[in-house]
């Protein structure tokens, strides 16, 4: 059952490479039988059945991201984008390969991580802030701005379960954009919401770009890729098939279905 583990190291230097990925591999062991449990595990062991199927998700990725670059990662569903992002974020371990992350990295795999429906909006704001690394005192100073921006001031002391899903997203987004880091990882999180929300997201992206923030954006929106990205990477079946000019990558992505 021993698994090999690749390396993910975090450093902090003045070099101009923010992330470098070399020969990254990842596969998952998918259980072939539904039953979770000791009995099944013992039976499988006795019968010499592995009880899982190995699925290769990433098959050797190599790329580098420079500081200040706004990078789009695109690809079909199931191509391995989200797995890549989770490995970069340090949530999954790389199976093989080297990853070096230079600087503080803030991942947004999902908006409102840790939101609990039984707690009030106020309590959830502090909880979510703690997950982004903000202390209570720091949250106190931005507390009013968060509610102002989310346009939900009157709902602060309501339990989150009484919020509509749109309201939850607005609140989560309003907290998320406070996060400060050298590298931001965004996973399609901003693909939800109505037109007004989309405009807020666009403004947020624009301000990130203006501040030369290093951003890695996983998206299906070629419009955003063309508009904001300095560079884009197209992943297909666990491999990079195109890396470079966002317009060309967006075109290649669209051509996947033709």
């Amino acid at each position: 059952m021993k698994r090999s583990i690749g390396n993910r190291t975090e450093i902090s230097t003045d070099n101009d490479i923010a992330i470098s990925v070399k020969n990254l591999h990842k596969s998952f062991k998918l259980p072939t039988e539904q039953a979770f449990g000791l009995k099944q595990a013992i039976f499988n062991r006795l019968r010499g059945i592995k009880g899982y199927k190995e699925q290769k998700v990433l098959k050797g990725l190599d790329f580098e991201i420079k500081k200040g670059e706004f990078i789009g990662i695109v690809g079909r569903n199931g191509s391995g984008k989200s797995t890549l992002l989770k490995i970069l974020a340090g949530i999954y371990y790389p199976e093989k390969g080297e990853i070096v992350v230079d600087g503080a990295l803030v991942p947004f795999i999902e908006l409102g991580v840790g939101f609990n429906p039984e707690l009030t909006g106020r309590e959830n704001v502090y909880m979510n802030g703690a997950l982004l690394g903000f202390s209570n005192e720091e949250m106190d100073t931005m507390y009013d701005d968060i509610w102002e921006f989310a346009e939900l001031k009157d709902f602060q002391d309501q339990k989150l379960k009484n919020y509509s899903s749109g309201m939850q997203v607005r609140l989560a987004f309003s907290i998320a954009i406070r996060a400060q880091g050298d590298i931001l990882l965004l996973d399609e999180v901003l693909a939800v919401g109505d037109a007004a929300f989309q405009r807020k997201c666009s403004n947020y992206f624009a301000s990130l770009k203006e501040h030369n923030q290093t951003v890695i954006l996983v998206t299906h929106s070629m419009e955003n890729v063309r508009k904001f990205c300095d560079r884009a990477i197209l992943i297909e079946d666990g491999k990079i098939i195109k890396d470079g000019d966002p317009k060309k990558v967006a075109e290649a992505y669209t051509n996947l279905w033709q």
């Binding site: 698994r3 583990i5 998952f28 979770f36 449990g37 000791l38 009995k39 595990a41 989770k86 974020a89 340090g90 949530i91 999954y92 371990y93 991942p107 795999i109 999902e110 991580v113 840790g114 609990n116 039984e118 707690l119 309590e123 502090y126 909880m127 703690a130 997950l131 690394g133 903000f134 202390s135 209570n136």
Partner: protein, 270 residues
């Protein structure tokens, strides 16, 4: 995992906030709220007191027996709460583990800290009862923090060890429930250890070699009466005396090692 990283600012904030949330959620939606942290052990005590002290006439040879009993049941609840919450912590916080990257031990520690807070509240109740019952306060009371810490370390070790196995094999939660039931009778909580000692000295020694018994008897010794039979005053052989301490260290070290190895894959498996 070096020390500065383990205790860095971000992790401390997270630990504090998770513990707070856990504690809030525990009593969410109940009319009496936090009061349940006090009421639960008191009610358990009332039942045990009526059955064992009044009906079965246990413990007539022990001074302050009601407080002695309350102390035992509260510490037992602390141990069970600490271990069962700790074992389930990784699974119940799976949502977080899959979405952000942080040291996984934080979820286990925060779950056990909720039990620590409950225990400290109970301790206040025990002390009030002890004073009402005529126990003379002394500086020696502060020594209870040594066995309390031992009990906490044991629970933490068990939570780390079984919690990491529980991610893949959820049977652990059910198995642990049964083990806890059995352990309850292997620890002198409802029966006085003197009762066992009078019929079999060997059996009493086996019971006292259990770290849970050792800690609970020590707490009673320091807090209530120095007539309490403890591992230290009942067992002569120094090697046997070391057994409870060794068991605590065994769970702590093995638990930490297994947890460290397995925690890398919690995000994928949970």
């Amino acid at each position: 995992m070096s020390i500065p990283r383990v205790l860095n600012r971000k992790n401390r904030i997270l630990l504090k906030e998770l513990t707070k949330t856990d504690f809030k959620l525990r009593y969410q939606g109940s009319v009496l709220g936090y009061l349940w942290a006090l009421l639960r052990p008191l009610m358990m005590f009332a039942i045990l007191y009526i059955v064992f002290a009044k009906l079965l006439k246990f413990g007539s040879d022990i001074p302050h027996y009601p407080v002695y009993l309350l102390c035992g049941t509260s510490m037992w609840s602390f141990f069970t709460e600490c271990t069962s919450q700790g074992i389930q912590a990784i699974v119940s916080r799976g949502d977080l583990l899959r979405k952000i990257s942080f040291p996984k031990y934080i979820v286990v520690v925060s779950a056990t800290l909720t039990a620590v807070i409950n225990m400290l509240i109970n301790l206040v109740v025990i002390i009030i009862f002890a004073l009402l019952n005529g126990v003379t306060p002394s500086w020696g009371w502060f020594l209870i923090f040594i066995p309390l810490f031992g009990l906490y370390l044991l629970s933490l070790g068990i939570a780390f060890l079984l919690g990491s196995i529980n991610v893949k094999y959820r049977d652990i939660t059910s198995i642990w429930d049964v083990i806890v039931q059995a352990l309850f009778y292997a620890v002198p909580i409802i029966y006085p250890i003197s009762m066992v000692a009078s019929s079999s000295e060997a059996a009493a020694k086996v019971i006292l070699a259990n770290p849970i018994s050792q800690c609970i008897q020590d707490i009673r010794y320091f807090l209530i009466t120095d007539e309490t039979i403890t591992t230290w005053n009942y067992i002569d052989n120094p090697f046997v005396k070391a057994i409870p301490i060794l068991i605590i260290f065994f769970f702590l070290i093995v638990g930490a090692l297994v947890f460290r190895r397995k925690s890398k894959f919690f995000a994928e498996e949970v």
